[in-house]
């Protein structure tokens, strides 16, 4: 309570500085970072939809920026963040069903998430660029 006479000073997040960095811990942090990035990344998605709803000029402006090297780089990062966060979510579902808590399983799941996200991002972009021609 805010008006308690003696408030106990409990440790508050983030606790990052007191732990030795571990791979699984880093993957947990990356899950949160990708989630936050996707949060703000939805502005790009809404911009695209609104541009398509507005006019050819608005859509062409979006297309030219999205098609530029910096735009492509951002969209590549967006794709990876989306796939990484999705696979990280699947990892959480596995844990929710009380599986994968062993030391080796945790490491394996973390590595699979990272490797899978990179592989799927490359595949998605190869297909996308091939269709774009």
């Amino acid at each position: 309570m805010a008006d308690s006479p003696s408030r106990i000073e409990r440790p508050l997040s983030p606790h990052l500085s007191i732990y030795r960095p571990l791979f699984t811990m880093m993957m947990s942090i990356v899950h949160r970072i990708t989630g936050s990035a996707l949060y703000f990344g939805t502005v790009i998605l809404v911009w695209w939809l609104l541009a398509a709803a507005s006019s050819p000029g608005a859509y062409n402006l979006f297309s030219s920026i999205a098609g530029s090297w910096i735009g492509q780089l951002i969209l590549l990062g967006f794709t990876w963040a989306l796939i990484h966060h999705a696979l990280g979510g699947v990892r959480h579902f596995i844990w929710d069903f009380i599986h994968g808590f062993g030391a080796r399983e945790r490491e394996l799941l973390a590595k699979a998430t990272l490797a899978g996200s990179i592989a799927l991002t490359v595949i998605v972009w190869i297909i996308g660029l091939a269709l774009k021609g």
Partner: protein, 134 residues
Amino acid sequence: MSTPKTHHAPMRTPLGRVRGLGSARSGTEHFFVQRLTGAANLLLGICFLVIVISLAGSSYEAARATLGNPIVAVVILLTLLSVTTHMRIGMQVVIEDYVHGEGLKVLCIVANTFFTVAVGLAGAFAVLKISLGG
């Protein structure tokens, strides 16, 4: 079932225990909805990725024709609903973890709601405008 003996009577009322909402008055709703929308995002996200890839580098007319398709429009509307709900709960957890000042925390949570609702509504309006012709 045996419960440990305590020296004091429990502070929670029987009604409070039955409701199971705790001090936050929302119980496990956020936990559950985050997993529900997470599962929905997984399915809808795959459909959405297919739509976006098929439209990569396409013209204004082609994009409008695809986005105006009823199935595509409904998939995008469902994606927007599920994603913005998931975003709002996820960012609230981040805010509660890192923003410790009570006033600023409440302000951030309000801003979080405004942002996620605006994103969802703007996206939905765009899709409906294309679909319903205008």
